[in-house]
């Protein structure tokens, strides 16, 4: 193992960890400000100028609160539940290509922790494991509302994973590779969203459902389930669950930007080269992620919640057949283009 490579990757991992956590923290602030703006309020404005220190105050509060474990809870599982949720939210970012190669200290540094040739499958693998954090936490609480929340969350995540996977397969068909890096480099001309608007729409709706965000936030539906799967959680364990939600929102925005909006590609890319290209590329990618986060929050504060049976109908009877038809048509067009008929 090359020592320089090891150091380089370690720094990148640490940086990604900090950026994901920082982004998640400031997304809570952004969400509150945005909600305030949409509802014609002021929002948090006490801590620092424009309330900019609010996430830090929230974090300190989370740490200082009493850490309470219910008497009849399964202690061990109650503790590892939020840990799993946070872990799975963080490790997805390992396969995300954050920008073009950076040239520093006489080395070409790839801004991607692991360029594995099954990147997109890795994302789905982590996604399917992410269910455990919520399920274990909800069950271990020994509370009926938590259990209902956990069951809702996991059945919703399993259902929407299918349509999401099928719409991702159409992208794989287009690019002929499972590696996220290849998918991004192939979009340097035209972004995938122009070829696959239907797949993008399905993927976006499914991502909302996977994230348990409104209008699909039934797992934490206050009017029915108190607080959903984290009803019994307090202190930093609750903080980890909330943080995990925002981190996965950040990472899934990145994945959507990669699959459909060209990742770090931007119009007029050929005029730049070297480090300038890398920095503008990272900035373009960050802007795309920011726009996705904004849209997801905007939807939350605009659209009311679905009913649970409506949610299941939408997933199984509308999105899944639609994505399958889309896949079939894409396959036929590609076969026709390759001269198979």
């Amino acid at each position: 193992m090359d020592t320089a490579l090891l150091i380089e990757k370690s720094i990148l991992v640490l940086l990604l960890f900090l950026v994901s956590l920082g982004a998640a923290a400031y997304m809570t602030y952004f969400e509150r400000k945005l909600a305030a703006w949409i509802q014609d309020r002021v929002g948090p404005d006490r801590a620092g100028p424009f309330g900019i220190l609010q996430p830090i105050a929230d974090g300190v509060k989370m740490f200082l609160k009493e850490d309470f474990i219910p008497a009849k809870a399964d202690k061990w599982l109650f503790i590892i539940g939020p840990g799993i949720a946070m872990f799975t939210a963080l490790i997805t970012s390992a396969v995300v290509p954050w920008g073009p190669k950076l040239h520093l200290f006489g080395r070409d540094i790839a801004l991607q922790v692991a360029d594995i040739n099954i990147g997109i499958l890795y994302v789905f693998g982590v996604l399917s494991v992410g269910v455990y954090g919520i399920m274990i936490g909800g069950w271990a609480s020994n509370n009926k509302y938590s259990l209902y929340g956990a069951i809702r969350a996991s059945s919703q995540m399993i259902s929407y994973e299918l349509a999401m996977g099928v719409s991702a397969i159409t992208i794989v068909l287009l690019s002929g590779s499972l590696s996220l890096n290849d998918i991004v480099t192939q979009q340097s001309g035209v972004w995938n969203v122009f070829y696959q608007p239907v797949a993008f729409f399905i993927f976006f709706v499914c991502a909302l459902a996977e994230l348990n965000r409104a209008p699909f936030d039934l797992p934490e539906c206050e009017s029915e389930l108190v607080g959903g799967y984290h009803t019994e959680y307090s202190s930093m364990k609750l903080g980890l669950y909330l943080f995990a939600e925002y981190t996965s929102m950040f990472v899934s925005s990145a994945i959507m930007a990669i699959l459909f909006f060209g990742g770090y590609n931007f119009p007029g890319m050929s005029h730049f080269s070297g480090n300038t290209l890398a920095i503008i590329g990272i900035a373009a990618f960050a802007i795309k992620i920011f726009i996705f986060i904004f849209v997801i929050m905007w939807i939350r504060w605009t659209i009311p919640r679905f009913r649970f049976d409506q949610l299941m109908h939408l997933g199984w009877k509308t999105l899944l057949p639609l994505s399958l038809i889309n896949l079939l048509i894409t396959g036929l067009v590609i076969a026709f283009k390759n001269g198979w008929f």
């Binding site: 399964d74 099954i118 499958l121 890795y122 399917s128 269910v131 455990y132 399920m135 069950w139």
Partner: protein, 170 residues
């Protein structure tokens, strides 16, 4: 050499967590240990550079199937009072069946040691998705398609079963 040490550590961890599946008294914890076992098996596939197999193992077994197991167990809410008492006859039968399975596995293991040597001489990229895809869609295409038909039959069957129940309720 370090690779060998890692695989020994992984192997013993796999065995330990697999043992915990059986030894753990609590059904939910057993399932969680089984998930952990699947993760160790996934990491072993990665050690053999079989990335595709590793990730499919993770998605299908650790992700999908075990979630269903967990689902069922959580809804059953098993506890010690509800646990059925094991009859002596069943215990003896289980011991004999387990023992013979163990014997079969040991015999199989004897052959795999030789197979393991031939594996090393082969191409290291065999587990990558490109090679696997090429093999599945050329040499093994009939088996592959037949398996997919089997899966579709199972899926249609499951949907049919679920539907019939609904009609009875109505």
């Amino acid at each position: 050499m370090s690779l060998q040490i890692i695989s020994i550590i992984l192997g013993s961890l796999t065995l330990a967590s697999a043992l915990m599946v059986v030894l753990s008294k609590h059904p939910i914890r057993s399932v969680i240990y089984l998930v952990v076992t699947f993760f160790f098996i996934t990491s072993m596939y990665i050690m053999m550079n079989a990335q595709f197999l590793a990730i499919v193992n993770m998605i299908v077994y650790a992700g999908a199937i075990m979630v269903l197991f967990l689902f069922v167990l959580m809804l059953l809410n098993l506890n010690k009072e509800m646990e059925p008492m094991n009859a002596k006859g069943a215990q003896i039968a289980a011991f004999i069946a387990g023992g013979s399975l163990f014997l079969v596995l040991i015999t199989a293991l004897k052959d795999t040691l030789i197979l393991g040597q031939t594996y090393r001489q082969q191409d290291n990229s065999i587990g990558l998705v490109k090679e696997l895809g090429n093999l599945l869609f050329t040499k093994y295409v009939v088996a592959f398609e037949l398996t997919s038909i089997l899966f579709i039959a199972a899926m249609v069957g499951a949907i049919l079963l679920a539907k019939r129940e609904k009609q009875i309720i109505e």
